[in-house]
């Protein structure tokens, strides 16, 4: 009995350690699992170890996390445009990947980006409609109730902002990679709606538009609409949240984040690229640069241990991280614990989903010496995550510390482990 209780207590302590992550502030010492024993003089029995969280109407109606779990989002990038800014607008907000477990980002921690920083509209879903028009046989307007009558699709999908670039100045994985998240999205396939409207033969592009004050609009290929775009009203088991596009968001799997149009109110089917303001925003000089800033490449990052964390001592650690690709599902992830000299296959934690974060793990025993840990991935169509040096070599340009990968940055991220167990940015 007694030993059972002890192990239960240790389990609870272990749980708290996990929730708090490895120690985030340098200098503090992270308690290691199983080191402290709580030898009570009393027999234990029914002794109450913890104060109670009183029940309340609010907690009954809508739950809350423990006050000991303090992981939060932050304005991104550090030292960049403020969120909220002088107008009260929110621009870029990064998710705390260092504390993530599994592959689903809680809606309250999902990264947020707005084009030019738009105000969040407070939309009554009863008044919200989606209109599809242009090169169709029948322009149709759908209410939210209409959309929920149609066959639904639920799936995991990551979104990543084009600004999710890592560099040597960033301190932790939230700063370097926090502009991506993955949620479970539910809605109607755009192809279902387009078939209701009847596409005309000359339909080649579509423009999706939001209902926020700047009515953000993007041009996308009709082949994408017919392949896998989703008109989502659900996110992680409840309604999409306002920061993520309530009541309706267009999900465009694997394309740059801005295409995932929030507050979706209108889709216009057209016969050419419309060069809307959002499209102008990613105007590039060459077709090569344009292509590399469009569909997201294979990318992975180790989230634990990562920058700002501290290994309490030598011994066993599971290295944990996330991998994703706009090319489809992740096929393999490899981890190096010797600065990239040798690579070993990591374990993929569940069946990888198309265009979704995939959790990987790699068993590692740290010998206490300084080293660098890295991850790289390959997706189902064979695209491989490169190092920055490999990209420079491919384009036949000289490589230096400040080399900027063209297009969306999917290069390998190194974390440096010092003898004292501190983890820092390997690009610094």
């Amino acid at each position: 009995m007694d030993s059972k209780r002890t192990s239960r207590r240790e389990l609870l302590k272990g749980g708290a350690t996990l929730a708090g992550g490895l120690t985030l502030t340098s200098g503090a010492v992270a308690p290691a699992l199983g080191q402290t024993h709580d030898h009570s003089m009393a027999t234990g029995g029914s002794q109450n170890d913890y104060p109670m969280i009183p029940g309340s109407k609010e907690l009954i109606e809508y739950g809350q996390r423990s006050r000991y779990v303090t992981s939060v989002r932050m304005a991104h990038p550090m030292g960049g445009r403020a969120s909220p800014d002088a107008f009260g607008k929110v621009f870029h907000v990064a998710s705390p990947l260092q504390d993530s477990v599994g592959v689903v980002t809680p809606s309250s921690l999902h990264y947020v980006a707005t084009t030019r920083g738009s105000f969040m509209p407070d939309i009554d879903p009863k008044d919200h409609t989606l209109t599809i028009h242009g090169l169709v046989d029948r322009p149709l307007t759908f209410t939210m109730e209409d959309l929920k009558r149609l066959p639904s699709v639920t799936r995991l999908q990551f979104i990543e902002c084009a600004g999710n670039r890592h560099n040597g100045r960033q301190k932790n994985v939230q700063e370097s990679h926090g502009m991506t998240s993955c949620a479970e999205w539910t809605g109607v396939l755009l192809s279902t709606l387009l078939k209701e409207c009847g596409l005309k033969g000359n339909a080649t592009w579509f423009v999706a538009e939001g209902a926020e004050e700047v009515k953000g609009a993007s041009s996308m290929p009709i082949a994408k609409a017919m392949d896998d775009c989703l008109i989502a009203y659900g996110m992680n088991g409840e309604a999409v949240r306002p920061q993520n596009g309530f009541p309706l968001r267009l999900m465009v799997p694997g394309f740059e984040g801005i295409f995932n149009t929030k507050y979706l109110r209108r889709i216009k089917i057209v016969d050419r690229y419309y060069m809307n303001y959002n499209d102008f925003g990613h105007l590039d000089r060459t077709p090569t640069e344009a292509a590399l800033a469009f569909q997201i490449g294979p990318k992975s990052v180790i989230t634990r241990p990562s920058g700002g964390q501290l290994l309490p001592g030598r011994g066993f650690y599971e290295i944990s991280g996330l991998a994703w690709s706009g090319g489809g599902a992740i096929r393999t992830v490899e981890v190096s614990t010797d600065g990239g000299r040798t690579w070993n296959r990591a374990e993929i934690k569940a069946t990888p989903q198309r265009m979704a974060h995939t959790r990987f793990g790699y068993p590692w025993t740290w010998d206490g010496n300084e080293t660098e840990i890295l991850s790289r991935c390959t997706d189902e169509i064979g695209q491989v995550q490169p190092t920055r040096e490999q990209v420079a070599q491919y384009w036949n340009v000289p490589f230096d510390r400040d080399y900027r990968v063209p297009g969306l940055d999917n290069s390998v991220m190194p974390w440096r482990i010092a003898r004292d167990g501190s983890v820092t940015n390997g690009l610094a």
Binding site: P139, D146, E213, F280
Partner: protein
């Protein structure tokens, strides 16, 4: 996904017989009047542009009166909380080495009209008349030396404005399901 792809292929082939009937009959017909209010997309041909006209001189007054200066600076030179709208670099500087400014670097003048109309001024979006949008577009193109001060912009002339970028910008690849981000690129 397999069957969906087949449907995709069938639809892309544009079989009109296939696309004719609705499967579920959910959703209501959008009226022409609803579309007149809702369709604010102005494509490169300008076919959606409304009647109206404006010049840079009228636009200069509007730029003051509508409060544009407060955020974009005098004559759009910047310095405020919103982006600069007038280039500080000379016309002899190649376009890709100049600032990225909508009424200077956009491939089509229609994009400028579309954006002012849909998204400006901050807090009063959608309140500008067609004449006012033509005038503001003319003014911003004029301060960037894209058009002369006396050019009248309207439904016919706006899509014909020659933007300095010309044809010097990258087109997106022909996207198909399951293709890499760039053909031949291993990463």
């Amino acid at each position: 996904m397999g069957s969906l792809r087949l449907v995709t292929i069938a639809l892309l082939l544009g079989s009109p017989a296939f696309a004719q009937s609705a499967t579920y009959g959910v959703g209501r017909a959008t009226t022409a009047e609803e579309l007149r209010n809702l369709d604010i997309s102005i494509g490169p041909t300008g076919e959606e542009l409304p009647p109206g006209r404006g010049t840079a001189k009228e636009g200069a007054q509007l730029f003051q009166r509508k409060g544009c200066v407060a955020c974009h600076g005098k004559a759009g030179i910047g310095g405020g909380p919103a982006p600069a709208l007038q280039s500080k670099k000379g016309q002899d500087v190649p376009i890709w080495e100049r600032e990225r400014i909508l009424p200077l670097s956009a491939p089509f003048a229609t994009t400028v009209w579309d954006y002012i109309h849909r998204a400006m001024p901050l807090g009063n979006e959608g309140t500008l008349t067609a004449d006012e949008v033509y005038a503001l577009t003319a003014y911003l193109l004029f301060v960037n030396k894209v058009i002369p001060e006396d050019e009248v912009l309207d439904k016919q002339s706006l899509p014909k404005v020659k933007m300095p970028i010309g044809d010097d910008y990258g087109r997106l690849p022909d996207w198909k399901p399951g293709t890499p981000r760039l053909q031949g690129y291993p990463y």
